[in-house]
Amino acid sequence: MSEESTGPEFPPSDDRLPGQTGRRRREPGRLRRGLRGALTLGLVLTPPLMAAAALAGWFLYQEIDRTLEVHFAGQRWDFPSKVWSDSYALYPGLTAGERFVQRLERLGYRRVVDEPRGHGEFRTLRLPPALELHLRPFEYPTHREPGRRIRLELDSDRRIERIRSLDDGSEVHDAALEPILLAGLHGDLREDRREMTLDEVPVPLVRAVIAVEDRRFFQHGGFDPRGFARAMLANLKAMGVRQGGSTLTQQLMKNFFLTEDRTVARKLREAAMAVVAEQRFDKREILEAYMNEIYLGQRHSVGVHGMWEAAQYYFGREPRELSLGQIATLAGMIRAPNYYSPHKNPERALERRNVVLEVLRTTGEIDERTLAAARAEPLGVIPPAPPPPGASYFIDVVRSELAERYSAEVLTSQGYEIFTTLDLELQRAAERAVAQGLERLERDYASLTAGDGDSDRPRPRLEAALISLNPRTGEIVSMVGGRSYRESQYNRVLEARRQPGSVFKPIVFLAAIGSERTGAVHYGPMTFVEDEPFEWEYDGRVWAPQNYEREFYGRVTIADALAMSLNVATARVARDVGIGAVRDMAVRLGVDEQLPAYPAIALGGWEVSPLEVARVYSVFANAGLATEAIAVSKVVDRSGWTVEGHPVEIHRRIPASDAFLVTSLLEGVVARGTARKLRALGFQRPAAGKTGTTNDNNDAWFAGYTPELLTVVWVGFDRDAHLGLTGSSAALPIWAQFMREALAGRPESRFTVPRGVVLADVDPASGGLAVAGCRHVARQAFLEGEAPEHNCDLHGP
């Protein structure tokens, strides 16, 4: 706009004379002219100013509208994927003793005196012995556990005899304790929430939130001038900021799009966004978003958002199961979630809850009687979730497996439920066994912590790896990749390739005595082999195997050669069978195909990972069937769709009879061989296994199994430092401690004898049928028609 044409004429500022300071004297005509000019200016400027303001408002509206469209109208939140442990099946035969109660308590179940009425409650009964349990609801990939009330009927040893429904008395065969959350796969925002519709939010909770946060929610249009004025007045009186005066919609907009800054600009924008949001979305949508968005505390490093997540976290319940007192506690927390946290400040939380209840009474939502009843309620909070379980190595495996198929963005935003095979109780037992086992070794053998004598370098810390799986299904139930995940994320179960030593020997004997044997000698478990020094010429080289203790035992049976882990006898068998056949058998059982065919492999002179060893031994344990080792069983999206599933797969590797022969030989190792210490360590179940110690004494192994669980333990240093311990002294105690704990309370079972196999009581020293005078009697498996027919000639006539 041109000043000359429209505005009054003012002298330029430099029109004053030098030294002139006073105002010019106004003349009567000039005043009138000035007023007229101002009016004219106002008239002229108002429309464009209004137009400019309207334009700015329109742009602001468009910008807010676009923001809401992009970030609020579609998927509102990133939902981190959740990694779950396996569920824990309940069935007759399990012991529901102290350990079971501990398992329940770690799951957050509460012991009650009366019959359990709420989800996650249990009580124990003495006469007749029983345990009553109100399971929690859980959405499994294939079904929903509605949260049944069940009764575990126990015998005098507290073993489950029968499981019945507490509601109708029918027998229950498919009960299980729900999985435990192992990890959330978060993006930049570390927030946990589960979305729910407004219909799923209990009405009292909605009323409580509105009553304490925004009573005129249904009257205002996003911004409430009355509420704002009231808040400002209260702040003025208090000479400080006491109330925000924000409506629910404003809070929602602030949480979604704005910062926590207490500035006028932020407040104005918040109000503007709230008004626009209310024009775009109806009150129900806004309320629903609020119920899902609201921040309600902290679970370790992750924020607890939304009423569903908070109800679960603080009370172990779904929102619809909350009592009025619990509802008031949650509603009261909105103002300052950590200050009023029932975990951190239960007294404050109680006080605040009662204030909320009072508000509800004042607003007519509840009567005096209800108020009194709710005030009498305890907080009812469950203990805070324990720190994230230490299954870090396992979770790494899950992450890397998923990363092959899903982008990081999908995993951190789509809320997949990832079901794994891990048993968290067994995982804890495994971590305990490894930690305590290594400490024990370092205490008993000072050389393990002394400086490295071979070089100037300091000796690294002693390490161990443990993997345990169900050989029938391949499900990995626990995994310890090293001593401390914090210190080293190197997962030795998968990545460490170490010489297996004598752990390899069963493969040699399998190649010799199995039904597919091809050697010149017709070996059986009681066939004699010479344990005397010999030289094996191979590819122009000469190899002379030695026994570990440099002693030789002369004529020994195959069974004893394995039980005592005799290198020379084993090498002789390997030479007879052919090292190519041994190598092929190893590969068939699951050893990497790069395994060369040279004599030293018969004594474990090749590097394998603990996982490979577990793979091989699982074939022995599973009647000759190989299973794929599984860590992830199912991935389910938020709508319940199974995105991927990994059913159990089995593949025949060797005949069941051959596998049983090996198991029988390995039972001999435990009964009278290098692993006989196992019984002294308190492990009394039927078990088969093999110790392993490398020639240089750098690696100690024990690979063993019961019918239901297979575990491999390795102990050593990351670089080739001298361990100087055998598998029996270093790895076996860890195995024993873990397996004792892992199988405690589970019914004992025996190895199934397959067709084509017969059992005979023999004297393993003579190879004949045991007679009265035999000092050692072993129940040995033979292929049908191959059991000895003669009596022991060492002790019999």
Partner: protein
């Protein structure tokens, strides 16, 4: 998570199922069920009865009859109590959870298998598969569970997956010639299916 219906996997299971319904398999399964009943009950007399006309199979039709056989085994092992705990014969028997010497894990595994059969009957093969996997995790000697898993994979059009389970199940079933014969027929069907799927000849 919500289980709002069958997953594509379930649908595929049910859809593919019809491809496998040959009269031969129907016959073999029906006969095997009867034989299994006989074997399980330890009674030879019913073997003289003529076998019923094999029904036309509707997925998962053939297996409920094996479920009856399973019931018989459960009743025997439970000392007179049937799978749902109802007393069959001696009322006092209901007080005994299991016959002496019976492995508790085996019994539990069989009962879970029975639950799985019910889910199969309700056309919930995925849920059934979960339970059957649990059953073999508890007791690796449960031949029924292996057979049913094999059956589900076969119905799913995965004879390659099915075969090892069927073979393992066959090995673990009672050594009853009639039963074994019928299980062999099932195995043959799986092998033929496998050959046709893989394009090779058996």
């Amino acid at each position: 998570m919500h289980v709002t219906g069958n997953s594509p996997h379930d649908n595929r299971l049910q859809g593919v199922a019809r491809r496998h319904r040959s009269a031969a398999r129907a016959s073999s399964l029906a006969a095997s069920c009867v034989a299994l009943c006989i074997a399980a009950a330890g009674c030879g007399a019913p073997a003289q009865r003529p076998l019923p006309e094999p029904p036309v199979l509707e997925a998962p039709g053939p297996l409920p009859r094996t479920g009856l056989a399973l019931d018989a085994v459960l009743a025997r092992l439970s000392g007179g109590a049937s799978a749902d705990g109802a007393v069959i014969g001696d009322p006092a028997a209901s007080a005994r959870p299991a016959a002496a010497g019976v492995d508790a894990a085996s019994l539990a595994s069989l009962r879970i298998t029975r639950s799985a059969v019910e889910h199969l009957e309700q056309r919930e093969p995925q849920r059934a598969l979960d339970l059957l996997e649990r059953a073999i995790a508890i007791d690796g000697g449960n031949g029924f569970a292996y057979l049913y898993i094999g059956y589900i994979h076969l119905e799913d059009g995965r004879p390659d997956r099915a075969l090892p389970f069927i073979e393992r199940g066959a090995m673990l079933m009672p050594d009853e010639p009639a039963l074994q014969k019928e299980v062999r027929a099932l195995r043959l069907a799986a092998k033929m299916e496998d050959a046709s799927v893989s394009g090779s000849r058996p």
